[in-house]
Amino acid sequence: MLKNHITALASCVALLFGATACGPALVIQNVDYSQPVESVLSPASDHSVQDLRYAVSFSIQSILEEEGVDSVSEIRLIRGHKGYYFVTASGFSNVYVFEPGESELQLKTIINVAEEGLGQPAFNQRGDHIELIDRATGQTTLVTEEGIR
C-alpha cells in the first residue's frame, strides 16, 4: 500500500518536473518594438483599420465610443520601443495606449492631452518616449505608456 503511494508520488513529481522543463524558459530581453514612423490609417466603413506595413489590424469602434465621436477620417498609430501602441486622431482629447495581447489590445492608459481636442496631431518616435505634436497649435507633448512625461 505504502509502496503504491510512493510510486504515485514519484510519478507526480516526475510529471511536475517534465511540465516545468517544457514551459517557456527561453526569454529574449531588450526587444525594441519601436516603429520608426507613425502610421496614418484611414478607417473602413466598419471602423476597422489595417496597417499593411506593420501587419496589424483592429477596430477603433471602442475608441470612438470612448471619445464620443461617430467617426474619424484617419487615425495616427505608433508603436513605442516597449511594444505599446499609441493611438490618437484629429479631434481626440486623448492618446490611447494599448498593450498587445493574444488577439487583443488591452488598454493600458488614457492620456488626456487636449481638452478641446487635438487639431492636427502627429506622433514621432523619440527613443524611450513618443513625441506628440499638434501642428495646428504647435504644442508638443512627450508621452510614455505611463502618461505624460
Partner: protein
C-alpha cells in the same frame, strides 16, 4: 509651347515642394510628414525625369535632385527606417541613375532632331536649286522647240541646253554623294532612331530621289536637241545613280518608309530601269547617227554588246578589205575612222562609254589593236624605189652614152 509651359509648371511645382519640405523640416514637425514629403519630392523628380525632353529640363532636374538630397540628408536615418528595404541613398542613387539614362536619351534625341533639321534644310535647299535648274532646262527646251532662229543661234541654244543639263547632273551627283556619305554605313539602331525622328519631316530623300528620276526620264524622252555624247553622259549618270541607290536604298527605305520599305526601294529601282530604257531608246540611234555622219556605217545595234560587235565587225571588215585591195582609198578610210575614233569616241566620249558600261576598257583596247592592224594593211605598196631605180638607170645609161661620144670625138 504647351510642353514648355507644362515643364515650367513642373519645375515650379518641384521647387515649391522642396522648399515646402524644407520649411517643414525647420519647423521640426511630423516625421511621417517628412517621409511623405520626401516620397512626394522623389516621385515628382522621377516623373519629371520620365517626361523630360530637353537639355534645359535636365539642368533644372539636376538642381532639384541636389536640393532634395541636401534638404533630406539630415534625416537619412529616419528615411532609411521608413523606406526599408530601400534607403535614402538608394533612392538618391536611383534618381541619378534615371537622370543619367534620361540625359543619354535626350542627347540622342537632340542629335537626331538636329540631324533631321539639317536634313530637312538640305532637302529644301536642294529642291529649290533643282527647281531653278529644271526651270532653266525647260525654258531652253521650249525655246529650242519653238526656235526659228538661224543655225548659229540654234547652236548656241543647244550648247546652253547641254550645259544646263550638265550642271544639273553635277548638282544631283553632289546630292547623291551626300546621301551616300550619310546613309551608306548607317547601323540598324541609328536607322531605327532616325526613322522615328524622320516621321516629323515634310519631305524626305526618297521622294526627292523619285522626283529627280522622274525629271530625268522626262528630259530623256522629250529632248530633241541632244546627241550621242549627251546620252552617253546620261548613261554614265544613271549607272552612278544605280550604284548609289544599291548602297543606300535599303537604309533610306528603312528610315523614311519603314512601313513599306521593300515597296519604296522597288519603286526607285523601277524608275532607274525606266530611265535606262529611255536613255537606250535614244542612245543607240544617236550613236548610229554620229558614226554615220562621219561616213562610218555600222551594222544595226540595240545593246552595248551589239554596239561593240558592230564596231569590231566594221574594223575587221575594213582590215580585210585593205589587205586585199591595198588602195589609197583604204588608207583614207582608215584615217577617217581613226580620227573619229581617237578624237570623238575615245577623246570626248571615252569616260562616259566606260562609266556608262557601254564599252569596257579592254574592248576599247581591242579596237585600238585592230586599228593598228588596219593601219598596216591600209598602207599602199610604194613604187618609188622602182621609179628611182629606173631614173638612176636612165641617168647611168645617159652618162655612158655621153662618155662614149666624147671618146669617139676625141
Amino acid at each position: 509651347m504647351k510642353r514648355i509651359i507644362t515643364y515650367t509648371y513642373s519645375t515650379f511645382a518641384v521647387l515649391l515642394l522642396v522648399a515646402g519640405s524644407a520649411t517643414t523640416l525647420f519647423a521640426q514637425e511630423s516625421d511621417y510628414e517628412t517621409v511623405q514629403d520626401f516620397r512626394s519630392g522623389y516621385s515628382e523628380v522621377v516623373n519629371w525625369i520620365d517626361n523630360s525632353v530637353s537639355s534645359s529640363d535636365l539642368d533644372e532636374i539636376s538642381n532639384s535632385i541636389s536640393s532634395l538630397e541636401s534638404d533630406y540628408s539630415g534625416h537619412s536615418e529616419l528615411l532609411n527606417s521608413a523606406l526599408y528595404p530601400d534607403t535614402f541613398s538608394d533612392l538618391m542613387d536611383d534618381l541619378r541613375s534615371r537622370y543619367d539614362a534620361a540625359e543619354q536619351n535626350i542627347t540622342t534625341i537632340e542629335e537626331l532632331n538636329e540631324r533631321v533639321r539639317e536634313l530637312s534644310e538640305e532637302l529644301a535647299e536642294f529642291r529649290a536649286g533643282l527647281s531653278d535648274m529644271d526651270a532653266q532646262v525647260e525654258d531652253l527646251q521650249t525655246r529650242l522647240n519653238r526656235s526659228e532662229s538661224n543655225a548659229r543661234q540654234l547652236s548656241g541654244l543647244v550648247q546652253q541646253y547641254r550645259q544646263s543639263l550638265e550642271n544639273r547632273d553635277e548638282f544631283v551627283a553632289e546630292f547623291l554623294e551626300e546621301l551616300l556619305n550619310k546613309y551608306e554605313t548607317l547601323d540598324a539602331q541609328t536607322a531605327s532612331e532616325l526613322a522615328e525622328a524622320a516621321e516629323s519631316m515634310d519631305d524626305n530623300p526618297i521622294d526627292l530621289v523619285k522626283t529627280i528620276l522622274g525629271d530625268y526620264i522626262n528630259y530623256t524622252d522629250q529632248s530633241t536637241a541632244l546627241d550621242a555624247g549627251d546620252y552617253l553622259r546620261m548613261k554614265a549618270q544613271r549607272i552612278y545613280f544605280n550604284e548609289v541607290w544599291a548602297g543606300i536604298g535599303e537604309s533610306l527605305s528603312n528610315v523614311y518608309a519603314p512601313d513599306r520599305s521593300v515597296q519604296a526601294n522597288q519603286e526607285v529601282t523601277d524608275l532607274l530601269s525606266n530611265w535606262n530604257a529611255s536613255i537606250e531608246n535614244k542612245l543607240w540611234s544617236a550613236l548610229t547617227t554620229a558614226f554615220s555622219q562621219n561616213d562610218i556605217d555600222l551594222a544595226n545595234f540595240t545593246s552595248a554588246s551589239a554596239f561593240y560587235n558592230a564596231l569590231s565587225g566594221y574594223v575587221d571588215s575594213a582590215v580585210a578589205e585593205a589587205s586585199e585591195s591595198n588602195r589609197e582609198e583604204d588608207m583614207e578610210r582608215y584615217r577617217n575612222f581613226s580620227s573619229f575614233w581617237n578624237g570623238t569616241v575615245k577623246g570626248t566620249w571615252g569616260e562616259f562609254l566606260m562609266n556608262g558600261e557601254v564599252l569596257t576598257y579592254s574592248q576599247l583596247s581591242e579596237i585600238d589593236q585592230k586599228l593598228e592592224n588596219w593601219n598596216e594593211a591600209a598602207v599602199p605598196v610604194s613604187n618609188l624605189m622602182l621609179i628611182l631605180f629606173l631614173v638612176s638607170l636612165v641617168v647611168i645609161i645617159g652618162l655612158i652614152v655621153m662618155l662614149a661620144r666624147k671618146r669617139g670625138d676625141a
